[in-house]
């Protein structure tokens, strides 16, 4: 009884917090000053058509570095908690349809993932989405070929290589230009080309490799191997 009242009070309190947000809400008509500056700088200073990418990789680059670190810690945590219980590994024999189509589809899914993160500065998408697509390709491989071993040492190598290269590009920004993670270490190029926008596609591809290998490790560990 007391518990129910406490739950009711907590939910009512949460609603009370959001009541002023709803009642005072008005759809805005113009960007605020900071956002307008980001949109303007993304087009004129960085040569990046996708403004969200330039916010993630450059303006809030340090946030993204911290976020990738959190993802790494979560991967290590999952691995530490679930390590070495091979006996309850999930083994479901795949349907023949899945087995046959996966041999064609896995390669195509990988190519799609690489396309998404190398074109992150031009089209919607980027390192996080591309990494997830690559991880889902490995998931299809795991489900269709039950005995396929996904090498931990290759995953660890890709993961640590892309992490070190990400920080290395950031430090190169300090040495060669004005600040950490500045993409100006490479030439800007023609607006809208694949090889343009300085180091942004390079950094986003490294993020894609890192996210893809980390999520694949999480999936492999959760499956029980």
């Amino acid at each position: 009884m007391i518990k129910n009242i406490a739950v009711l009070l907590a939910v009512a309190g949460l609603l009370m917090i959001f009541l002023p947000v709803i009642s005072g809400f008005q759809e805005r008509d113009n960007l605020n000053e900071l956002a307008a500056d980001y949109v303007d700088g993304s087009i004129n200073d960085l040569g990046t058509p996708n403004v969200v990418t330039s916010v993630i990789v450059t303006y809030r680059g340090l946030d993204t570095l911290g976020e990738v670190t959190v993802l790494f810690l979560a991967t290590v945590g999952v691995g530490l908690l679930l390590k070495g219980n091979r006996e309850d590994m999930i083994k479901i024999s795949p349907l023949e349809l899945l087995e046959t189509t996966s041999s064609v589809l896995v390669a195509l899914i990988m190519v799609l993932g690489i396309y998404i993160f190398t074109h992150g500065h031009l089209t919607p998408g980027g390192g996080f989405q591309g990494g997830v697509v690559i991880a889902s390709g490995f998931l299809l491989l795991m489900l269709s070929k039950v005995n396929a071993k996904i090498s931990h040492s290759i995953m660890n190598f890709v993961e640590s290589f892309s992490g070190v290269a990400y920080v290395g590009i950031g430090i190169a920004g300090i040495v060669l230009t004005i600040g950490f993670l500045n993409p100006g270490i490479l030439p800007l190029g023609q607006f809208g080309d694949l090889f343009s926008a300085g180091a942004i596609p390079v950094i986003y591809s490294l993020i894609g490799l890192k996210v893809g290998s980390e999520l694949t490790s999480i999936l492999v560990t959760m499956r029980g191997e």
Partner: protein
């Protein structure tokens, strides 16, 4: 008026997820409640970044590079939510692996069987 509706939808999802976290007994149901509340929070943040009648912040055929500032929605909430979704997946994975370990010890998913932290 679009973002008003989605704001209310996000708050409703957040409240439903919060209620599920408080009242459910099954550990996996609690994590599902967390995941619903997570989605609600993301919808709230993206709604606050919407501008009336504007389009996505990507310069292509639909948006002119010269007066892009007048034509696009706020890119900052999108960037924040993008990272928050990935973190949400990582946190969910850690919570679920804790549940798997707890189940291996006590053979139970009900939170009533875990009394160690009760006082």
């Amino acid at each position: 008026m679009i973002s008003m509706y989605t704001l209310i939808l996000g708050i409703a999802l957040l409240v439903i997820g919060f209620y599920a976290m408080l009242t459910r007994k099954n550990l996996i149901k609690i994590v599902i409640g967390f995941s619903i509340a997570d989605t609600g929070t993301h919808i709230i943040i993206v709604s606050l970044g919407y501008l009336r009648g504007k389009t996505a912040p990507i310069i292509d055929g639909a948006v002119n590079a010269v007066n892009a500032v007048q034509e696009v929605v706020d890119p900052i909430p999108s960037a924040l939510v993008l990272t928050a979704i990935v973190i949400g997946l990582a946190v969910t994975a850690v919570m679920l692996s804790f549940i798997v370990e707890m189940y291996k010890k006590n053979k139970s998913l009900s939170i009533d069987d875990y009394q160690e932290l009760k006082w």
